[in-house]
């Protein structure tokens, strides 16, 4: 599965905001957190560093630290506590430096 993980149930009548995940343009809604913006289009935000698969956050309140993503410029961002901004460029796939 590579579709959306989250289902929008309300507040869908908002301005759209375009941002990029792994180079692909994605439409989010103004007021989305970065985590919601990604998961309304994709099913994960990062990979566990310990090889047990994809992760998609857990607590959504800045406590579990399981939704850190990286911007294309290398900045680390806690997705649940960051508001989406147009033109954000996010990477969710771990680069393997072997």
């Amino acid at each position: 599965m590579n579709g959306a993980r989250f289902t929008r149930l309300a507040e869908q009548d908002r301005q759209t905001v375009t941002f990029f995940v792994n180079g692909q343009a994605i439409e989010a809604l103004e007021g989305d957190t970065l985590l919601v913006a990604i998961l309304a289009a994709k099913d994960h935000v990062r990979q566990s560093e310990f090889g047990d698969g994809n992760r998609a956050g857990f607590c959504l309140m800045g406590s579990c630290q399981d939704c850190w993503v990286t911007s294309e410029s290398g900045e680390r961002i806690k997705a649940c506590s960051t508001r989406i901004v147009a033109e954000m460029r996010i990477v969710t796939e771990t680069v393997n430096l072997k």
Binding site: F6, G62, Q65
Partner: protein, 454 residues
């Protein structure tokens, strides 16, 4: 004499009422908030461009949420409110914080910690897959973002939030597969005398169950969670549990909301020098607070961050703590009001003890956890690795077991695994839980971006 410098951490129900009481007495407290607006987790506000009404958002609690928001708005010019600010350490009458990427040191004469609570979690095989969320997280997705965590959701665990969030999802039109509760009907009955201390809250709780039943969503009591199946790539695809007769059942789903009541957020209190004691009833470590709500000489604690008593009690506790603090600072205070709040708080306390009794932490499931279940999601440490480390290295104390197994060493600092890890160590080494201890807190209590400026 300069006015005393009081810093309040948190602006949920406790922090809001505390700051309000201090401000009305003529102090100008600094209020530190990790969120961008007040309300805490329970009364978290939706973004400004969202349009749902208070009653759509907060249901039976909408009047309280509206009051916590509007009363806070009305004191904004009487307080020094620092939103989007993370308090990360306390030392020698100074609070260290990261304020929108800038590092600040805030000296104080008195500190009030209203740090709230987060989920207590019992691991289940497969809870590390994408698609598992804490109950609180599932609630935030809906309340503050208008989203469900999946298209077919199982709610599993125990505690009031299990029913609250499941009913909120149903009302919002989400597809809820089932509510699986590890507690039994007998637990609820045994708790009834204490729950009757607050008949209106008991009535609200029964209303949630009615909502769930009316939607024909099954509520199963006395379950033993066996496995959350799925894959590392695609995430969750089903939940398997055993019912009280011993039969196994599998429910397909693409998301699981998990939680077993709450635990206090106590890292800052720990760093501020507060002492902790083991509480047998909740099987948790709680800060020692005196009758003036003090955990250390000039450190006060209020709300769920001090004791898990719920949002209504937190408002009372925030007011009460502010009044006792004012008294300590030499201000004239209406002692009758203190008395009235104390007796009201005692009723909430009795009710909260009933909630703890109704939704017990299912320690009997600890022994049956399979070795390959993950206990620490941050570092992907398995139950088996923790059992081996604690048995093989004589690590029956949790900080020692942490050093050997890496449990609790990850970015969340043991918030979501520490309590279960202690139970696993206690069971594996046959040590009383109180002797296993608790994970020592370390600054920064949450990760800081490397680019925090001085």
């Amino acid at each position: 004499m300069n006015a005393p410098k009081v810093v309040v951490v948190g602006s949920g129900p406790a922090g809001t009422r505390c700051a309000e009481t201090l401000a009305l007495a003529g102090l100008r407290p600094i209020v530190i908030d990790e969120n961008s607006n007040n309300g805490g987790q329970i009364y978290r506000r939706q973004p400004e461009n969202f349009v749902r009404t208070y009653s759509q958002l907060y249901g039976s609690e909408s009047d309280k949420a509206a009051a916590v928001h509007s009363d806070f708005d009305s004191i904004r010019d009487k307080i020094d409110y620092r939103s989007d600010t993370l308090a990360w350490a306390v030392s020698e009458n100074t609070l260290f914080a990261a304020e929108r990427g800038r590092s600040v040191e805030i000296p104080f004469d008195a500190l009030v910690l209203c740090t709230g609570a987060s989920e207590r979690v019992m691991p289940t095989l497969g809870w590390n897959y994408a698609g598992n969320y804490s109950l609180g997280g599932a609630q935030i997705a809906l309340k503050s973002q208008g989203c469900a965590i999946g298209s077919n959701i199982v709610f599993m665990g125990t505690g009031p939030l299990l029913y609250l969030v499941a009913s909120q999802y149903i009302k919002a039109g989400a597809n809820v597969a089932a509510v699986l509760d590890t507690s039994t009907v007998w637990d609820s009955l045994a708790a009834l005398p204490k729950l009757l201390a607050m008949p209106s809250m008991l009535w609200t709780g029964l209303g949630l169950i009615k909502t769930i039943r009316a939607a024909r969503v099954p509520i199963v009591h006395g379950v033993q969670p066996l496995e959350i199946t799925g894959s590392g790539d695609a995430g969750v695809n089903a939940v398997t549990y055993r019912d009280k007769r011993g039969h196994a059942h599998t429910l397909e789903c693409d998301a699981v909301a998990l939680g077993y009541h709450l635990r206090s957020e106590t890292q800052l209190a720990d760093l501020a020098g507060c002492a902790f004691s083991f509480d047998r009833r909740s099987r948790q470590w709680i800060a020692d607070i005196d009758d003036k709500s003090r955990g250390a000489a000039n450190v006060y604690m209020a709300g769920d961050g001090a004791r898990i008593r719920g949002a209504d009690a937190a408002e009372v506790s925030g007011r009460l703590t502010a009044l006792t603090l004012l008294l300590d600072l030499g201000y004239a205070v209406d002692e009758k009001e203190i008395k009235r709040l104390r007796s009201l708080h005692a009723r909430y306390e009795r009710f909260a003890n009933g909630v703890t009794r109704a939704f017990p932490w299912p320690i009997e499931h600890v022994r049956n956890l399979p070795n390959d279940a993950i206990v620490c999601r941050c570092e992907a440490v398995s139950v088996g690795e923790l059992r081996d480390a604690s048995r093989g290295k004589q690590a029956d104390e949790i900080n020692r077991a942490k050093a050997f197994s890496r449990v609790g060493m990850g970015r969340c600092q043991g918030r979501f695994c520490g309590i279960a890890a202690a139970e696993i160590i206690a069971d594996a080494t046959q040590t009383p839980l109180a002797e296993v201890g608790r994970i020592r807190s370390q600054a920064p209590v949450r990760p800081l971006p490397i680019a925090v400026e001085q």
